[in-house]
């Protein structure tokens, strides 16, 4: 019997996910009618942003205005990617971008801007928030922070059934948002291939109920859980991807920094993630959850995504993936 090594095991897992999801695609849809929100066409903005020192607030205002969003009197919840802290690493959404987003949404008329995150590994929220630099920007902007791991929760019936979870407890802060802004870092991921706006929603699953790590989701199927969480969030959505410095290789924590100098914005998270994947030279159709999300949650086909702002090919780079995920590349790199 040949050795089942790590590579084969993982490839098998991804293939199994893909096969399972593909199987579902061929049978009855695994989502309820009300979960279907795929627009006919989506817009995704690609904005040049060379560094975190530039006037990001103005750039974000320009980008948000491209979508004609009405922010007036809205309660905006910013969901960054704050996973872990490593002084040498580039794990988290950069605090300067969070600062700029807080200021941008406030100046566009938001009633309230809240930063909310539920880190998946560490319970020590105080340490993560202070060490990562978030604390000082929250203090300076007098912005509330909610630890989603410890927020009040409501049991939500899932609107798709790629997992067998049926329902999940989700935080009231997220469910009550007038606009939920996913602010992921542009990263590769050793379990999911890439981690962007949709995968960022793992952080809303409350640790106080499901633990650290949020292992229940891994047991239920990582790709499948991403779909079920995202299909069940019936709140208006927007995304701002921090691609100024991204991460390649063994993400989401131990990968290498990769300077790209870009922000990706949009109100269709599927289209945003598909565009960000292409920017990393990863084929979104080879990522099972993105491919399936393209059936009912948003657009992944280039012809259904209107590219606005700067040209994508100006920023396209070859992001290294862990060896197991090399087959996801659009072009071998």
């Amino acid at each position: 019997m040949p050795a089942l090594n790590r590579r084969q095991f993982l490839l098998g897992s991804v293939a199994a996910s893909a096969a399972l999801i593909q199987g579902c695609r061929q049978e009855a849809p695994r989502w309820e009618k009300e979960a279907y929100r795929k627009p006919r066409r989506s817009q995704v903005a690609v904005l040049a942003a060379k560094s975190y020192d530039m006037p990001l607030r103005e750039e974000l205002i320009r980008g948000i205005k491209l979508f004609g969003l009405d922010i007036t009197n809205k309660r905006v919840v910013l969901k960054p990617n704050l996973v872990e802290y490593d002084p040498q690493g580039v794990i988290n959404t950069h605090p300067s971008l969070i600062y700029a987003a807080i200021e941008a949404f406030k100046s566009l008329g938001a009633r309230e801007v809240v930063v909310a995150e539920g880190p998946g590994h560490r319970r020590d929220n105080e340490y993560l928030v202070t060490a990562s630099g978030f604390y000082s920007i929250l203090r300076d902007t007098k912005t509330s922070y909610v630890d989603l791991n410890n927020d009040d929760v409501r049991k939500v019936k899932l609107k798709s059934h790629f997992t067998e979870l049926g329902s999940l407890y989700l935080p009231e802060t997220v469910l009550g948002a007038d606009l939920l802004v996913s602010m992921p870092k542009l990263k590769t991921h050793h379990w999911a291939g890439v981690t962007l706006s949709m995968k960022n929603m793992f952080g809303i699953v409350p640790g106080a109920i499901y633990g650290w790590p949020k292992n229940v989701l891994h047991w239920a199927g990582l790709q499948e859980s991403i779909l079920d969480i995202n299909s069940s969030l019936a709140v208006p959505q927007f995304a701002i991807v921090d691609g100024i410095v991204g991460m390649e290789g063994n993400g989401p924590i131990q990968g290498r920094a990769k300077h790209v100098g870009v922000l990706i914005l949009g109100n269709d998270w599927v289209a945003v993630d598909a565009t960000a994947a292409r920017l990393m030279n990863v084929d979104p159709k080879k990522i099972p959850y993105l491919q399936s999300a393209g059936d009912f949650l948003g657009n992944i086909e280039p012809q259904s995504i209107e590219q606005i702002g700067d040209r994508l090919d100006r920023f396209q780079q070859d992001f290294q993936l862990v060896p197991i995920f090399q087959p996801l590349k659009s072009v071998a790199g």
């Binding site: 050795a3 089942l4 410890n150 929760v153 049991k155 790590p213 063994n250």
Partner: protein, 300 residues
């Protein structure tokens, strides 16, 4: 700090008698148990009413099976049951409820890998994605999931404290397996994170709060080389992380290992002055408990 932390806990007690983990939220078993432990340890008669209401809230969370739900809106018993048991155990009149909670914990077990996963582990352990022994079952965060360090640590502390009230064969076996699981998950240089020491061949780093908790659970093996290594690692981790959670659990841990905690308490006070622990109830309660010499509630 002690007075300020006490006032914080009095002010943040919810109308229903419990405490939330962060301000203006629903009461939660973890926060309520820690707040009760901290206030009870002050032995302040003026707090009798707050303590009584807190106990009542906790008792209302206990299910017929003995476990404790996390909040009033969550159906199933939770990993925080261990803390609820430890809190009720402080009050003699609540011993029966505490023993029922300990019995519930004794019946809990983390989920196994399933036949395929186990086959892979047995045949090719060196090629396993994560470096751990999946046959060792501790306690999980939520029913039907894998075992992790923190819930296992709470369960071990409870079972060790209540062992004379529990079925001897079962409790000895579960304590032994839980201890082996925790030692198996230790990071390479000592200390623990949530419960993975190595993933994809990369060593992961330990966290001070989980390290302190694991050491508290293993306090009856103070001379074990892993305990000694992890105590050293914990001191090193605290050079960088001085949060209320990290220092609070560490002070309790060091006190249980007979170390002088005065320097750590000074750091705790300094951190409190700086951030007020971001208003997190569990950190404030742990700090108050540590500063008022309350480590003994975790002594086994």
């Amino acid at each position: 700090m002690q007075e300020s932390a006490k006032v914080f806990l009095i002010k943040t007690q919810n109308a229903d008698g419990g405490w939330a983990l962060q301000p203006q939220r629903r009461s939660n078993t973890e926060a309520t148990a820690l707040a009760l432990l901290a206030l009870a340890n002050l032995r302040d008669r003026s707090l009798t009413n707050q303590v009584r209401r807190g106990i009542e809230w906790l008792l209302q969370r206990q299910t017929p099976g003995g476990g404790f739900r996390l909040t009033s809106t969550v159906d199933q018993p939770s990993w925080a049951s261990g803390l609820a048991v430890l809190a009720l155990n402080v009050f003699g009149a609540q011993r029966t409820a505490a023993v029922r909670g300990a019995e519930w914990l004794l019946r809990q077990k983390g989920r196994g890998l399933g036949l395929l996963g186990l086959l892979q582990y047995w045949l090719y352990p060196e090629q396993f994605i994560v470096k751990l022994d999946p046959t060792l079952k501790g306690w999980s965060w939520t029913a039907g999931s894998f075992s992790w360090v923190e819930p296992t640590a709470y369960a071990l502390i409870v079972l060790k404290k209540f062992r004379k009230h529990l079925s001897q064969d079962q409790v000895i076996a579960r304590i032994s397996e839980g201890e082996r699981m925790i030692y198996d998950r230790m990071c390479v240089g000592g200390g623990w994170n949530y419960g993975n020491s190595k993933v994809f061949g990369e060593e992961l780093w330990p966290y001070p709060d989980t390290t302190a908790l694991a050491l508290i659970a293993l306090q009856d093996h103070p001379d074990h080389p892993a305990n000694q290594l992890s105590l050293q690692a914990l001191e090193k981790m605290l050079e960088e992380n001085q949060s209320g959670l990290a220092l609070g659990w560490s002070c309790i841990c060091f006190a249980l290992y007979g170390r002088d905690i005065a320097p750590w308490l000074a750091r705790l006070e300094k951190s409190y002055a700086k951030t007020r622990f971001l208003g997190e109830t569990k950190s404030v309660a742990l700090a108050l408990l540590a500063a008022s010499g309350g480590a003994d509630v975790f002594r086994v």
